[in-house]
Symmetry: C2
Subunit: 200 residues, 2 copies
């Protein structure tokens, strides 16, 4: 028997967070109530604002509350003509942290997965096709995850690049096969950017 319905409700709601089970939810709820109500209120505001106002960049599809994200808006990021294609917005943060890349990004928000019904249009390849057609992109760096689906997606996009006569390369050394780009350390990721190999 619990002493508060509202507390029950909070513990249940906390379980929408990945990796949070009943025990951690209870610990989190009690911690906030006992020691950090201001932090809890700030989190409530940040959550409702982010969930309602964050959409996708019209140019690169990453998360942003503006029409076009800070990176796409920055003219300096357009100079070298490089476009790095990643699976998720978290991968942008990982590549940025290497300090090795000064071009732009394109975020697939997933990867091709025919068995799950996820085709080219679902990962924004119509928009990518349009961007390649517009010109200004000299090299596409394929930084999808080194998984079966990530590789298949990279090859599909390499073919698209060939149609538009744009060079495509795949990040290489160091990224462990079967792993996730987001979890790789900065040095490994720097190496894989420098050791990229041309695909088309």
């Amino acid at each position: 028997m619990r002493t508060s319905q509202m507390l029950e409700h909070l513990m249940e709601a906390l379980r929408c967070l990945p990796g949070v089970g009943p025990k951690s939810a209870q610990r989190m709820a009690f911690h906030l109530l006992q020691r950090d109500r201001q932090g809890g209120l700030r989190l409530a505001d940040a959550l409702s604002q982010a969930m309602t106002e964050i959409g996708h960049c019209q140019t690169c599809r990453t998360f942003t509350e503006e029409d076009v994200c800070h990176i796409c808006k920055n003219p300096k990021r357009q100079e070298n003509g490089q476009l790095c294609v990643v699976e998720s917005p978290a991968d942008i943060a990982a590549v940025e942290a290497t300090g090795q890349f000064s071009g732009r990004y394109f975020v697939l928000m997933g990867h091709l997965s025919p068995l799950d019904g996820i085709g080219p249009a679902d990962i924004g390849l119509d928009l990518l096709d349009f961007r390649l057609q517009q010109g200004g992109i000299t090299e596409v760096i394929l930084a999808t995850n080194p998984t079966v689906e990530g590789e298949a997606t990279a090859h599909y996009i390499a073919d698209l690049c060939q149609v538009h006569h744009v060079s495509a390369s795949r990040i290489a050394h160091g990224v462990p096969v079967g792993g996730e780009l987001e979890l790789v350390d900065g040095t490994t990721l720097s190496h894989s950017l420098m050791g990229r190999q041309r695909l088309s």
Copy 2:
């Protein structure tokens, strides 16, 4: 360089949760944005409601949004005259889960800690004194944590019970010394309730 200020802000706000570092905060934020915006909004509501409306029970000091909590309101929980004293609301959940206790609770919301300036009034012992004086309590079960502070607090309360001629007992077997009550499994806690020893 990040692509969204609002996302930055959300990741920072998530770190008020215990055990959440920069990496998990990022994973949580992306998970909610990508897969569970409804869950994120429900969490925002549950948080702001809980942080503003949950207070303390006037009788037992546990968390509740009402004046008196469900347990204190229940006349059946008063019949056997037992009062179980615990350090935190989470401990109520742990004791309730054993199914071995049908009395009422008193929550200290901490323990005596003279070095940190936490004295009897800070853990509600004036209210406990008042309740013992009112009568109706035949036995106080001291279920504070088996730590130095928890033991000292239990002995202090046992002395208070003696003044009011109320029997005091301490939960016993099984609770590992130096551990936290909240983390003990149900069977161990059942044993320690049954094996309690009279202190005064």
